[in-house]
Subunit: 234 residues, 2 copies
DNA sequence: GAAAGTCAAGAGCGGTGCTCTCGATTTTGA
DNA sequence: TCAAAATCGAGAGCACCGCTCTTGACTTTC
């Protein structure tokens, strides 16, 4: 193993330091990250940042990648920590983990799932990490199908759509009946919508018990998915 | 009736012209609206814009208000044009109208439902227009309840949540059983999530038939709401 | 020990939102 | 009617932004 040179180690530390300060600025000042402000905080001149990141967008991309991975880690470990046979419990754990991470890192969540920055185009590196949370949810459904505890919904997709969803099933390599795949995507969409509404302030201030509201709405989707466990209907 | 002075009429026309140019810039260049660019297009100097809008945020607010009203009009007329007794048809019409408007005005949709601009705080004027689309959806459910064609879901909300939702029912003045209200909010959340994913995300690259996908997902929520009509289950 | 590579700093370019002043024009009211 | 008041566009200027280029000092490599 080759030990990196002193300069390489200092450089790696500098990159991490820049990202840390940038992340802090993101959390306090919002999404419009200022390179010059980051440089000021580091006691540098703005042009020095360009030794480590070729442009502001590249720094943003690095932060986005880290955020995707942090969210993916949170969701995956929450799923893994739950009882593997408790499908409903795993669904709730994964969804709650996503929400908890988003509430703790609102600016980074906005970076991932907010409106795209006008001039910015996410590189292909971000595709795989971005799919980790929905993949985790689909994995729960797949486990339910393979273990026979999750029934296939009885609706049939109309033909042009059925082919699309079947292709998506192939691409994601998560074998699911198309109808269940569509319901799973509905669950993922609902999770994103719930978090976004709560975070971007569109949710009504008249809902003080947000944890309970979130759980209830997630439970509705769990029912729709047919996840076994204590249903909402009492 | 007092005829406004020439100067007042010119001023009103100028305000409209600035908004029109700004809206065009929004559509082409994205959300980061440049006052100077708008002024250039109008053959003015940037400082002249401040005679009509005290700040860039105020111009943005005016555009946001117009966008909310345009979306609200689209959704409400789509609902009104449908057969008043066809609850499921009205739900579909309203949701499709929202999506159609969003696809036709992506930048304005992003302005309304994207991540909030860091320094910008939406004034209270925007609250009422912002609630028109979800209110339309809830109105469909209310009509179903009052006409007896829409059954109350059989789940019971746990207590802290039930009070919140009941208060929300009071505030919105749309009399709905709390459980149905919660399901209606799920439908609204799903609609927002579907449109946002299609507009912002990369989830649908493998879904060429987006109309059919949207209709199917909306149909899932219509089933969840118990809207009478041809269900998805074939 | 010289050549090559890397670094921070500074100046500068064109862009942004915004403020202020200054004449010119229009509206108002005695 | 005619002067005072209000409104207007233009311009200069401030502080900030992302980014580029050059310069001189430093470190690594051969």
């Amino acid at each position: 193993m080759v030990t990196p040179s002193l300069r390489a180690r200092v450089r790696a530390g500098m990159i991490e330091e820049i990202k840390a300060v940038a992340r802090r600025h993101l959390a306090t000042d919002g999404a419009d990250l200022s390179l010059r402000a980051v440089a000021r905080d580091l006691g540098m001149v703005s042009s020095a940042i360009y030794r480590y990141f070729p442009s502001r967008d590249d720094l943003l991309t690095a932060l986005i990648l880290e955020a995707y991975d942090a969210l993916g880690d949170a969701v995956e470990t929450a799923d893994a920590d739950a009882d593997v046979d408790d499908l409903r419990g795993r669904w709730f754990a994964a969804c709650r983990a996503a929400r908890t991470w988003a509430l703790a890192h609102p600016a980074e969540y906005a970076l991932l799932y907010g409106s795209p920055v006008p001039g910015y185009a996410a590189p292909d590196d971000t595709v795989a990490p971005a799919q980790r949370p929905p993949m985790t949810l689909l994995g729960i459904l797949r486990d339910g199908v393979t273990s026979g505890r999750l029934a296939t919904p009885d609706e049939v997709l109309p033909e042009p759509l059925r082919g699309d969803v079947a292709e998506l099933v192939d691409q994601t390599a998560v074998a699911l009946p198309p109808a269940l795949m569509a319901r799973g995507m509905a669950g993922w969409t609902q999770l994103f919508g719930l978090i976004s509404f709560e975070l971007f302030g569109r949710i009504n201030r008249a809902l003080p018990h947000r944890d309970e509201y979130f759980d209830h709405q997630i439970g509705l989707m769990a029912d729709l998915l047919g996840l076994p466990g204590p249903r909402l209907r009492c």
